[in-house]
Symmetry: C2
Amino acid sequence: MHPHVAQLLEFLRFPSISTDSNHDKSVADCANWLGEKLRRIGLDTTVHPTAGHPIVVAKNAHRAGRSTVLIYGHYDVQPVDPLELWTTPPFEPRIENDIVFARGATDNKGQILAHILGVEETIKRAGDLPVNLTFLIEGEEEVGSQNLEPFLAAHRDELRCDIIAVSDTGMVARGVPTFTYGLRGIAAMELKITGPSTDLHSGIFGGAIANPALMLARLLTTLHDADGRVTVAGFYDNVQPLADWERAAWSKLPLGDGEILQLTGAPAVFGETGYTSTERTWARPTAELNGIGGGYQGQGTKTVLPKEAFAKLTFRLVPDQKPADVLKKVGAHLRANCPPSVRLEIAEGHSGEPYVTDPNSAAGLAARRALQKTFGSEPALIREGGSIPIVQTFRHLLGADTLLLGLALPDCRAHAPNENFPLENFHAGIGLNEALLGELAGLK
Amino acid sequence: MHPHVAQLLEFLRFPSISTDSNHDKSVADCANWLGEKLRRIGLDTTVHPTAGHPIVVAKNAHRAGRSTVLIYGHYDVQPVDPLELWTTPPFEPRIENDIVFARGATDNKGQILAHILGVEETIKRAGDLPVNLTFLIEGEEEVGSQNLEPFLAAHRDELRCDIIAVSDTGMVARGVPTFTYGLRGIAAMELKITGPSTDLHSGIFGGAIANPALMLARLLTTLHDADGRVTVAGFYDNVQPLADWERAAWSKLPLGDGEILQLTGAPAVFGETGYTSTERTWARPTAELNGIGGGYQGQGTKTVLPKEAFAKLTFRLVPDQKPADVLKKVGAHLRANCPPSVRLEIAEGHSGEPYVTDPNSAAGLAARRALQKTFGSEPALIREGGSIPIVQTFRHLLGADTLLLGLALPDCRAHAPNENFPLENFHAGIGLNEALLGELAGLK
């Protein structure tokens, strides 16, 4: 096994699930492993404790007159359930047909480790990098990066940079280098509908007491029209329309409805009228139900009228929507539509702003050249439907834009069972790091 | 501790949950304990194996010229979840203020054991009973009694009787003897909505693929109008209207909206317009959501678009609705309303017909006299919202009507955490058995 691959498997074995406090120890172990790795390649490395999970910072010796590049990534991963749908255990990486299967393989351990190994190779060969480099690798990306923002504010001088690079996005297809110039934002909310003080016998009380699970279903149904357009008043107020060049460029990508149906296995595409599927996912906001539960969950039948039911919602946002504004409007909508026969509780969760940058800026052009050099073809220019809220925070706090040079394939199953990353992309990422730092060195 | 109470606690310690195959051994142990008890009091007892859980039959020596009475009950219980809402463990019975708390205390172990102990007392005192008696006690009442019907058909001669008595219903209030002359039927159905072949990243695909959990919510919402009236075409076709004397009698019972709100803790009553709460629960059918689930169920946020979601439904039926007809109509409604962007799977569950008998028949009057004798006041005449589907099967297969002489109080929490049964009612049940067999002896 190539030593780069062996290190990837080692990294993937940590169950660094940031949302679940039962895994706090594994998250910390993973941060320390990363710190050790960065120290061994000669970087000045600190594993910073935070109120949550540690933040790892590593730098070469910075010298005046060079470009300063910050590479951001994360070592935390999503939960693994439903566990029974994994072919092999999520933290026992398996390689099949040169693809590695494990939670975090794509998102984000494979991609950030490729940058680290790229830096290691360049230092081995050239003794130093052509730029001042800072790695910033956190453990709370999957739970909203809540401790990263105060950390950035407190370490603003130490983290000062000209440009930021992140590989945590996707390629439109295998072998198609992809430059992502926009991301959706996110805002999370959890609802609870409560009614009776205990589960009731559905024979004795059914018909006379409102069913919280049914009332929740009714309330959720008010969020969209029949075609999936969000019906919350003012939801689309600040949405910027798509530019003509974007619609034209995207229509040429190998990402039509056929590809989406093949990728997802869904029986049909579905969404807001007047937009293609790529336009719906990249440039239009959503109200999505990530989880719902209430009443009897076991085998067979239990004839209860449940005391409560919950729903976990996230809203994907596009420029210029603001998370706080959206959550406020949705909250008002839910309160106005909640039947008086039940009670509604709303808890707001993490959020992050949407992002867009100019793909024709000097740094944007440098990144596109690095992609072209690595993959041998012109990069696709896209936005993405996912969220990396910290990108907008970087702009606010460090004053630098972010280049998104993702290596994930559309069928990488990020956040889902059997997440995977092709070794081809892993090795390409190592090469991309060298090309990128070379191009960015030329900016100054 | 009174020896009767000690025996009740012993009976309650078996976790005889019939719906969960992990408890099969406990269900069998409970049946054998019951068999031993019935043998010890001198009854000819057999614990019959079935394709499911055992059926216990016990008889005194039957003699020509006497009334033959069959007393039916069940030793299986409902599941216990949510376990964390129990003050003490559900199978470690606790007595507080002369009330016993345990799963099955009311439904049905406390009530059937009272009959058994009543028979034991009478035999001890008089040497025999005034009637030919058969106990028929099953272990699948909470899962639809699916093996009882073939058992009745196969043992029809052995189980021949003039009248059946069951204590598995409620009293309208403490100290108010209650004769139940009607029950709702039931029909169960489980739905699954599926979409993509795996959970998807809600950022990458959200907006372009229908969300199965949201589509399930939308589909469930089509089952009722805003007031809770079922909107399935033909659902009310065979519903018999309430008689004037019933509405008049029920309006005088101490069971108004105030009592229902106090019992349930719900913020408001809710239901079909034009009916009181007792009318809604006793004489009007329902479509109830017993459980719903899909997507992320854990702590925090997981940004998935879930691959599937399920709903467990039961329909409470009133004369003359037929379960198969209702399930067919509901199935057609759901298929017609399911969006084409997802797939719908329907699994029909157990069912039982609604029941009504004449409270002024000779046996009905005998039962009412026994209740009056035991409690010292005129019994209330009611229907009940719950279902004992086997009552209708008794009528079909044994040709006998059933007297429902329940001892459960409205706050017994049957099917819910902290189920309980007052010892006062337990002891009354022992006395009621003697009075009832005496009255029924007089019918022949």
